[in-house]
């Protein structure tokens, strides 16, 4: 039923200059109810379940190993979260990774 869209193969001419934002994930652990939306629909697959549980007994999302700098601050996890338990901030302007890794 759905019409297939022809795949775009041409590379954007400004691809080398394109700046990909760097995002930082913040999770309000006690609000999470493990609906899985953020983990499933993250376009860069940054998140995974924690091994710990929160006070209600749910596994909340955490940043997966090796994905520390994969978040592009698209805010989709924030917008789709029914519990307002997750949001991201833009840390592209942070000078070095040391500054990027603390704060929050």
């Amino acid at each position: 039923m759905t019409k297939s869209v022809p795949h775009v193969v041409r590379e954007p001419i400004d691809l080398p200059q394109a700046q990909v934002p760097l995002g930082r994930v913040h999770v309000i652990v006690e609000r999470c109810k493990q609906c899985n939306f953020c983990i499933k629909y993250c376009p860069t697959e940054v998140l995974e379940y924690s091994e710990d549980i929160n006070a209600k007994g749910y596994h909340y999302p955490i940043v997966a190993d090796g994905k520390e700098f994969a978040c592009v601050n698209c805010r989709f996890c924030d917008l789709i979260c029914p519990e307002l338990a997750i949001y991201t901030t833009d840390i592209s302007d942070a000078d070095d990774t040391a500054e990027a890794s603390d704060g929050g």
Partner: protein
């Protein structure tokens, strides 16, 4: 750097949009995987993006799971009797035209118990933004069949499947005179957000149907395991048709997998509002 260090838990446990919500009431009572929380979240984001003074926003809701919305938003809000969210909101909009009134209600509240109010509010073209959270059944009371339950879908009052033709809500809203009609799912958060901001800025009766998963009641009867499963059905079968000229065959059939679930901003016309 370990993953746990990279996941930051905010010190005060405050979300950036918490100022527009009664955050002391969170986490809310709605089930895990329910889509109503996403709609409340989208409403708060739309208030911030609308450019209208936050003190001029009013939220009215009826009875049901979606009726809880009025209790969680930190604007003037009213939780009215069953089906009567629209007449109450109509009174506010007529008495204080400077206010921006949004009705957040469910499919049962808005089109079954309050069905008569719905068609007449649309006919009069009162300045209201109506969000109908459609979860295809009466969720709070245990999954009874409602006016939007698709043919063949099971409910606690239809164990062999619903046999009545459901409402096609965008078609109904267009036919009765709404000037802005849209249908989105909770997965189309940005599109829903834009549609809601558009309806806040448009004087007249604007109607947005949001398809939301109901894993506890509708999902349990229909072998839909959790909220994510139902959202996946939307993702696979949704087809965007903005400005579609004919809405008459946009019924939702959950059993026929070849039939798409059509979403989009269908109607955006100008007509004199009630107060003009």
């Amino acid at each position: 750097m370990s993953a746990t260090e990279q996941t930051i838990q905010p010190a005060a446990n405050i979300h950036p949009i918490d100022r527009l919500l009664r955050a002391d009431r969170l986490p809310h009572i709605l089930c895990a995987g329910c889509g109503i929380g996403t709609v409340i979240h989208g409403y708060a984001n739309s208030i911030a993006a609308s450019g209208i003074d936050e003190n001029n926003h009013v939220c009215v809701s009826g009875i049901g799971c979606s009726g809880r919305a009025a209790g969680y938003v930190n604007v003037d809000s009213y939780h009215t009797t069953h089906g009567r969210a629209l007449p109450f909101a109509l009174g506010i909009a007529v008495h204080k035209p400077e206010l921006n009134v949004t009705v957040i209600s469910g499919d049962g509240d808005l089109t079954a118990i309050g069905g008569n109010h719905f068609i007449h509010a649309a006919r009069r073209n009162v300045n209201l933004n109506v969000i109908c959270i459609n979860n295809f059944n009466y969720g709070m009371t245990g999954g009874q069949v409602g006016p939007t339950t698709p043919i063949g879908a099971k409910g606690t009052t239809a164990p062999f499947g619903a046999v009545e033709r459901p409402f096609n809500l965008p078609y109904l809203a267009k036919a009765t005179g709404a000037i802005f009609v849209a249908r989105w799912t909770i997965l189309h958060v940005r599109e829903f957000h834009e549609a809601l901001v558009r309806s806040m800025q448009k004087p007249g009766f604007c109607f947005i149907e949001i398809l939301a998963p109901c894993p506890t009641s509708f999902g349990k009867s229909n072998k839909i395991g959790d909220g994510l499963h139902e959202v996946e059905i939307y993702r696979e079968r949704c087809q965007v048709q903005n400005g579609a000229p004919h809405l008459n065959d946009f019924d939702i059939d959950l059993l026929d997998e070849s039939k798409p679930i059509v979403v989009g901003n269908f109607v955006d016309v100008e007509r004199d509002a009630f107060m003009e």
